[in-house]
């Protein structure tokens, strides 16, 4: 295993960008799955009621929002790790 930090800069930017793109696509898929999909099946979801909340309504009013917040903080965390891995963190310039 070679240390990615020692690769030439062009190579590093390329690999870094590839991993970044993959992460973006995965997170966007989750984003889509919690906001758009529940709208399409809201009537079925509304048959499930938890603590007074019909699930379809809940996804629109709070459920998807919680996931949005988590997604963004996760991305910040994952990208910090990726920065470190490729020696690209702008914190310790």
């Amino acid at each position: 295993m070679s240390d990615p930090k020692k690769l030439p800069i062009e190579e590093r930017v390329k690999l870094y960008w590839k991993e970044n793109q993959r992460l973006i696509i995965i997170l966007l898929a989750i984003w889509f799955a919690v906001s758009y999909l529940p709208v399409l099946i809201v009537n079925q979801l509304n048959n499930i009621v938890i603590a007074g909340f019909p699930l379809g309504y809940y996804m629109g009013s709070q459920g998807s929002l919680i996931v949005f917040v988590v997604l963004i903080f996760y991305y910040a965390f994952a990208m910090n790790r990726l920065d470190e891995k490729y020696g690209m963190s702008d914190r310790d310039k």
Binding site: Y36, V39, F53, G60, L65, F68, A76, N80, D92
Partner: protein, 720 residues
């Protein structure tokens, strides 16, 4: 360097301490006012004034303390705003009078369908975090047209982007000014115009003296005030209805009670569509997609314009869909397409609005910019996560304690709000014995509309109601009133859901839901004044951020970058400050006639941003082959398609695709913009090597700022 990071955290801790003291101080002042009101009987008018003046003075003080002559402090707050504070500032910048006052009201009125706004106005931040913020921070200039100009190599692209930014921001700021005027009028009791002037002077002191730096630090204070003001009344309402003080978790109980009461009161019913046999639509709060299409806002807009401008345009004929007379237009209710289109436009538009995008220029690093979007959404989330609870508790309370009650036994606050002309109890029993000619305005409106006639048959000068009777000529008559508006339920002395309305229509004004909650929950006036101060903070903070965008688009993008690149720093500062005042004055003038069209235009701004800024900035970062001609073609094509669909549907709802209304029209402009940008880019030469290098540097967080500077304005960029 570690030292820089250390200095940053010292600065962050210092600011955290200041704002901690501020929060405690604010709570102490509010508590003292509360005690004075309860024990010393402080007059309500006085409390209203104290809250207004105190908060305005506070914003002005922060503005004066942060006054600056440095250009990068003026445009991007010196790029040293820590992620958490930038998050609060973005939150205040983002949450306008509409979020604070109207959001819960919209949900109260239309139930599930209103959730498109809740998801739309938060989900956009995911796109911002993943697709835009880190790269714009890396680019590190002053404005969004700066980015468009540098990436797409040329002043044409820059000017087109600057003009788009000005149009979007000006309509938006006008809506905020209207909000300021209304809040001042309702809670301090000053004239609407005077309210605008007092409110705007608060904004101006801030943005004029200190630009983005002052705006940022004021917005942090405004965020703290607005979130406290939003949470207190709904917590009290939850406490009084359920005995549990966390409304965000306990409103499930409100939802199940709403479902039960709506069924009991026949508000939620399933009926067969009048035009599509075999298709059933359920009305009510929880069931989705039951809003029909209508061009009523378009009709109102034309009438208002005619009054305001003295013109004589013919309003379109009022139409609604489904229309039993035109079954070929179909019934789009109970399909999700309009909901999805609107939600998508709100999300993509959020990620494309200039006043939000520039906030990510103000953080110290790419790393902080990613984190900052997280904090932004977290602080916005606190309000949006609560709005559905607000709406549900209000609706439950209205259905349980107001609707179905004897008119005589209604809670006291309904009479207060009725006297102020904010709500109307539309049961005819309320006009029994009222002198002819002094009926409430909702009765006069019915007479004008032809659905009610009043005849003083016994000549005693007052309206006498007899028992309900039906005779052959009139569908329904009783005593001295007659007409189609008279039904058995409309004069039985018991309030029906559709009788609880505004003076102009059968539904209450959505804005009242948040504003009336303190009264409904029986809280002292001080809490009402606190809510008004919160609404004012929301409107002013958004207005501040928008004024900076407009001023920088004119002074920086158009004047400095295109007209006179040799302008001195002093000239640019001076012009920027002048433009802030000019933009504020223009917004105040536009706000004076109080056109409903303005609120509509704010909603349209999202569609326009969806079809212009969003695809262009996205392709600019993620596709290095995109070039200037492609971007210009994309922006113009996207905008034209969006405006065409918008205008056609606004005027005539029969013009629609899949039942999507004008609010979601950006969904049609978006693919046009993307396809045009790709096709035109491929047909024209690739961007220069230098620009392709710029794209590579954008993706690499560690390229030196000095390297970046040569792609941008040439101004030196503040070191970290």
């Amino acid at each position: 360097m570690a030292a820089t990071t250390g200095a940053q955290s010292v600065f962050r801790n210092k600011m955290a301490r200041y704002y901690g003291y501020f929060t405690i101080g604010f709570i102490v002042v509010a508590t003292i006012m509360l005690l004075l009101e309860i024990f010393a009987g402080l007059p309500t008018q006085f409390i209203g004034w104290i809250f207004m003046l105190l908060t305005l003075a506070l914003y002005a003080t922060i503005g004066i303390l942060s006054r600056t002559k440095a250009i990068d402090e003026y445009y991007v707050a010196g790029r040293n705003v820590p992620a958490v504070f930038n998050g609060m500032a973005t939150g205040a910048d983002w949450m306008s009078a509409a979020s604070f006052i109207s959001m819960a009201g919209t949900l109260y009125l239309i139930g599930y369908d209103g959730l498109a706004y809740i998801m739309g106005w938060t989900g956009g931040y995911v796109l911002l975090a993943l697709l835009f913020a880190p790269y714009l921070r890396k680019f590190g200039q002053y404005t969004i047209p700066d980015f468009v100009g540098a990436r797409f190599g040329g002043n044409t692209a820059r000017v087109v982007a600057a003009i788009c930014a000005i149009i979007v921001s000006l309509t938006y700021v006008t809506a905020q000014v209207v909000g300021v005027g209304l809040i001042m009028q309702r809670f301090v009791g000053v004239d609407y115009r005077l309210g605008i002037i007092i409110g705007l002077s608060g904004v101006l002191v801030c943005s004029f003296l200190g630009g983005m730096k002052a705006v940022t630090w004021t917005q942090v204070a405004q965020y703290i005030i607005l979130i406290i003001a939003y949470l207190i009344p709904v917590t009290a309402l939850s406490m009084s209805l359920t005995g549990f003080p966390i409304p965000q978790l306990s409103y499930g109980q409100a939802l199940s009670n709403i479902t039960r009461l709506e069924a009991e009161q026949k508000i939620s019913v399933t009926t067969e569509s009048p035009v599509v046999p075999g298709k059933f639509v359920t009305t009510g709060y929880i069931p989705p997609f039951n809003e029909g299409m209508s061009n009523a806002p378009g009709v109102t807009a034309v009438r208002q314009l005619n009054t305001a401008l003295g013109t004589n345009f013919t309003p379109p004929t009022t139409q609604t869909i489904p229309d039993a007379k035109r079954p070929e237009l179909g019934d789009w209710r109970s399909t999700p397409w309009n909901f999805l289109a609107l939600m998508a436009c709100l999300m993509l538009g959020t990620a494309g609005l200039p006043h939000i995008l520039i906030r990510f220029y103000t953080v110290p690093s790419v790393r902080e910019s990613r984190l900052s979007v997280g904090w932004s959404l977290f602080f916005i989330f606190l309000l949006y996560f609560t709005a559905p609870a607000y709406a549900a508790f209000s609706r439950w309370n209205i259905l349980q304690n107001v609707v179905g009650q004897e008119i005589m036994a209604l809670p006291e606050w309904t009479a207060n709000w009725g006297r102020q002309g904010l709500i109307a109890i539309r049961d005819f029993s309320t006009i029994n014995g009222v002198a002819v000619g002094s009926e409430p305005s909702w009765v006069k409106n019915l007479v004008t509309a032809g659905s009610l006639t009043i005849t003083d048959t016994n000549g005693n000068g007052v309206i006498d109601l007899g028992p309900f009777a039906k005779d052959g000529d009139n569908p329904a008559t009783a005593g001295e009133i007659a007409g189609t508006a008279v039904t058995e339920a409309s004069l039985d002395g018991v309030l029906q859901f559709n009788e609880f309305g505004s003076p102009t229509g059968p539904a209450i004004d959505g804005d009242l839901v948040v504003l009336s909650t303190p009264d409904i929950a029986g809280l002292p006036y001080t809490i009402g004044a606190l809510v008004a101060a919160g609404g004012l903070a929301a409107a002013l903070s958004t207005a501040d951020g928008l004024l900076v965008v407009i001023a920088s688009a004119i002074a920086h993008d158009i004047y400095f970058k295109v007209v006179n690149p040799k302008a001195s720093l002093n000239t640019r500062m001076w012009l920027g400050k002048t433009m802030i005042v000019v933009a504020a004055a223009v917004a105040a003038l536009l706000a004076l006639p109080r056109l409903a069209l303005i609120a509509q235009m704010v909603a349209w701004a999202f569609s326009m941003a969806t079809a212009t800024f969003f695809p262009i900035v996205l392709l600019g970062i993620f596709w290095s082959r995109a070039n200037g001609p492609g971007a210009i073609a994309g922006m113009i094509g996207g905008l034209a398609t969006t405006i065409f669909y918008m205008a056609m549907n606004y005027w005539n709802p029969a013009f629609n695709v899949l039942g999507i209304t004008h609010l979601g029209s950006g969904i049609f402009g978006l693919p046009v913009a993307i396809i045009l940008c790709i096709v035109v880019s491929l047909l024209t030469p690739a961007p220069s090597r230098e620009i392709q290098e710029l794209v590579t540097h954008l993706r690499n967080p560690v390229t030196d700022d000095e390297v970046m500077a040569k792609y941008g304005s040439g101004d030196s960029i503040t070191a970290h």
